[in-house]
Symmetry: D3
Subunit: 271 residues, 6 copies
């Protein structure tokens, strides 16, 4: 009948994280049941929800997580720079576990929360697209490169479709000048996910997740088939970052490279 | 005086066809006389019209058709898949006849109704432009490849300008999900023809004929000089094709390739 | 036993033509039987040969020609500029007939004698490859564009593999200065055919057929998988075309464009 | 306090010229002091202005001009075709003097008024970007090529940032059909300058200066990081240039090439 | 004195592996000491050698391994398809350990044994280069993608240079038809390593490791600065793989894709 | 009769310079008369020579120089870094004078001694071609950029053909490690000039002038029509620059960029 939702069950990993919480409500119209998973507590299941606390590094648990799932929104794992072993467990072993489970369970499509940090070592004067070589800006970024390569394999070998979303800065509003370029509003995030979920064919698509901001580093041409059209813009917040003639120092790598302050958080500070 | 129209006489071939009928009225302001031609009956000539019933495969008739013509809108021929011999007569012999007549009559410009089916074997996840190799999806598409190559020759050799329009789906509205990508409204069609007719120099230009739809397979960068800006969008019809999680089968070539159902109508079904 | 040849039966069309005669002897080691076909008389069948006189425009005859064939070397048709109707019958209808017959007979691969005249309207200062748009220099060239488009379709739709060879100037030796660039020795032609016939996968490949001459207009990168390595060079004939400071006139199109004197033989001289 | 302006002192060369007069008022909010320079008289200094009459070919004067400057808008020199010696003094020696002075004074950024005439010999059917080879259309254009190369050197060697703006036709409104493509409104000019002045990093950027006109020859992708979004369009003036079927002559180079009538003003008419 | 070798100490990981054994002797002239490491026993140290048995997944051991090293040839880890956890320990954790140790020890350059299996899902009719997206053909390939991304990061962030060598088939001779394309003789391997070790600047270079074979899938243009010129060719072994007209089945993925039989060994066969 | 030389009179500017002296003898077979010009004394005219001492900055003298000339080899001007005013007089005013004289005298072709220093700010790990943006490494390089732009204009506007040769290091042999990449033997220089002089059409061609050295930074694909095939290689001198593991410092710009030590000689050292 007309009240049927498009999917029976969507799995959202990382549901207790910043974006996970945003998505929890927004994607409800897409499936009869949203299965929410995180390594941290998520709270009570509401109507149309299932809650499964799960460590993605636990293969058996991840395989159980996938039962009766139609679509996966893989937002789980570590989302900032951290020590490599932690990132490896969560983002490398974890993402591998997701894909093996997807494969065994016969799920047809994954939306993978990749990151702009897979290309953070391009310059802020570069204009790049999804077919150019990756230039990660830390261990977090390297782990997302792994996820993109892995998902490409599962598509080429098994036909499992993935949309990798290289998420910019998805926050309520830009909080520094860099985010005037990388801002990705929650509304635009949800709209891009909607396009990624419902376009009949996506193959293996890489899309930059970014609003319609005035300045742009990313050319989304290779995701044109998704039909995503950003409606928000950082221009609405321009008054918070007034024009300044106080140029950054010539050797300030946080403004030379797209990755920004992320570049200062790499492994060298661990020892 | 100010009421003079830009052209004295425009020839519209295929005037009895689907698009021919649409254009008949719309292009009236462009010329003192519109000469309407088709192999089928067209009806009565109205004010400012001339009617010439003509088989494009008839060389003598086509040469006569061209007398005193300033501009040709070549929409004649067969516009769906058919047996090769019929397509060859109408679209290959016919288009050759048109160009030879254009050359002999000294007509300076042709607008050629090519088709998206010259690239129908690109994938629905590809984003292509007019300089990429053609990938026709049937005999109809192959005949349009011929027309594009032929018109290139007449431009390189004789300076006869052509705008090849790779028409998407030009109907009153999209009638299936594929047309959400390929929809080309009548208003946008007429506007693109206007740009093609009145841009001072067009050389040999290939333009995809498509409205400003959310999803896009075609990059019109090499036709930027035409100044065409689509005003309509298939988004207005999105409610007719609600989001669905029921993905097409992995081997359903009508959703893998841009050509859609056309791919199933090729020569193999004739024997 | 060890004396078995790779193929049971190869069909060579155009066997009475210039290159057909060269190939007749050279390809004997490749198949138990070489079936030789031409519209003109070919002479007596020798050991390991079959002779079938046949007009390629005759569909029924072409279908009969294909019986028990493993591989087609399609060198038939008209190989110089001519009136369009003759070219259409031989090269357009004829090539279509070949491919339909190939399809119905289940032949897996065709080697198609295309021509450098599909790109004759590039400049002699251009360096082009097989993915760039075609620029034919006459009706003959346009008919070869058709053959390339058609064969692409049969590969995309039915998996029938084709190697299109854009033959340069395949003569005993260069007879003018242009041929110092386009010379394609008989030995190199046979070697390229050998590569095209025996590479395990060729898909739809376009290869320029040219020897290892000092000057080059054509970049064969997209045929690298064929393993063709030219062994001859026009340099051996350089003494016949001594250096000259007598530059061609600025408007001499036969030296401006790659097609050379072919450019002067187009349809405009027929009327 | 909140009334502080972004810069202490901006130098505007060419302040008495057509665009200099426009900018004089518009850029006042950007700096405490605007230093105005020209070889011609500029009039009285108004509040927040300094006037320095100066020949850019005079090295000593140019070095003095740069004292205490934060940002340079280099609009000085000759802006139309002229005899080479005059252009060399003003645009070649002059621009060199500016950059040496910038280097010695420690100025960090220059906005250089380059011109679309550095690419005027591309065709009006071409769509070009900033990474394609330059094709100047006269001595003026050649001198601007020099300025672009020179500024590139000062960036690569000394880290002095430059935005080269290839200005289209910056006039109150389009006055011929070519300007329907090249029109660059004063508002859009000022906005592009604002982006060029205040983007934190620009490196060496080349941006086409053009409004959001329907037809376009220039792809500004490599300046995407500037965040410039044109708000005006020549479409507002379309009624002044009604559609016409009176095509230009086939050999009319002013419509074949982007440079327009500039092409007719080169050095050959001097002797 | 003149007998000094270029390096004091080179570390070769994977010294007990197939290629490690080959290299052990060949690289002796490059350093006073070759430190040989493997997880398996390597045998007795000979003159100018040090032997350290070491599991690359053991961080502490790897850091000790790097003491006083000038150059690393990282050939260790798992070199065939295997279960993911084993590959992750050896190739992901292991390569990370190597780079962290390199960084802490101040080693300036690494030569990383990557693999053609990072691009194994390109077609055998494709011609690819090092700037095109990776298409791994199994977990082994994915782990090598990780190594390439990781080494890019260490170069961008710390200036540690790496040459990634996408090794083809480095065996005494080709043992199947695919290896006629991918063959990489031991001599050519050593020569490429020599170029990678001694070119003054390599930055982060990706080079395909392949001999000068007739057919080629890989364009090494982006490694041109290394000066590597292969001297061997699989042509010497052509007689072992005679021409055959027995084409592979249309759906035989081991001949459709460059990865060959590797494609059949992925994770799906583990469960 | 058979002893006629291809040209009547070739003008060689810069005849007293390093390469001028080499060429003086080598090009004798190409013309009845070689007119030798330099600002410095050249010595006695020998048989078949004319000597004209001339400052290229002297317009009248340059125009006289061009009388009865068929071909110009423009090697004159300043060939190392120098103060800008000297470079401007010799290389900018001087080259302009040459082209105006060429235009007025009706000379059809110029071979222009450009320099690899027009691209000296590319990295030594880059592989570049003639269509990529110029990156000069000093005032000398900037002046050669000017010459390339100027000659492009004279070709586009007047049809005067030029081959710009971006000369590498043309010396008797490599004298440092950089020259192992940039070495251009005298024999190869003469052969490239021969190709540039005698190819029937060259339009405006940019060719890197470099021998067939093992390592390469320059892709000469856009000069393929010249037919130049280098016969010498720096490999013959490899023993003079033995392999060394003593890597240059990370911030040593003379090895980071292609321009080498030239980068240290720019204008900043003048003040």
């Amino acid at each position: 009948m007309s009240t049927a939702k498009p999917f029976k069950r969507i799995l959202l990993t990382g549901a207790a994280g910043g974006l996970g919480k945003v998505l929890r409500e927004r994607i409800k119209p897409w499936a009869d049941v949203i299965r929410l998973s995180d390594i941290s507590p998520i709270g009570e299941a509401q109507d149309g929800e299932e809650i499964v606390q799960c460590d993605l590094a636990d293969k058996t648990a991840v395989h159980a997580l996938m039962k009766d799932v139609d679509l996966v929104l893989h937002f789980g794992g570590i989302s900032t720079e951290n020590n490599f072993e932690a990132i490896m467990a969560a983002n490398i072993q974890g993402t591998y576990n997701i894909y093996e489970a997807v494969h065994l369970a016969g799920v047809k499509r994954v939306i993978f929360a990749s990151s702009n940090h897979v290309v953070g070592y391009y310059k802020t004067t570069d204009y790049i697209n999804a077919e150019m070589p990756m230039r990660p800006d830390g261990m977090y970024g390297v782990s997302k490169c792994f996820g993109e390569s892995l998902s490409r394999y599962y598509y080429d070998r098994f036909g499992i479709e993935t949309v990798c979303i290289r998420i910019g800065s998805s926050f309520p509003e830009p909080i520094n000048k860099r985010m005037m370029v990388t801002y990705f509003s929650y509304n635009d995030l949800v709209e891009l996910l909607r396009c990624a979920a419902f376009t009949p064919r996506v193959g293996h698509t890489i899309s930059f997740g970014v609003s319609n901001n005035p300045a742009s580093w990313w050319d989304n041409r290779y995701a044109s088939h998704l039909g995503f059209q950003a409606k928000d813009s950082s221009a609405a917040f321009a008054h918070k970052f007034p024009d300044s003639g106080d140029y950054p120092a010539a050797d300030d790598i946080t403004t030379i490279y797209q990755g920004g302050a992320f570049l200062l958080t790499g492994p060298q500070y661990k020892s």
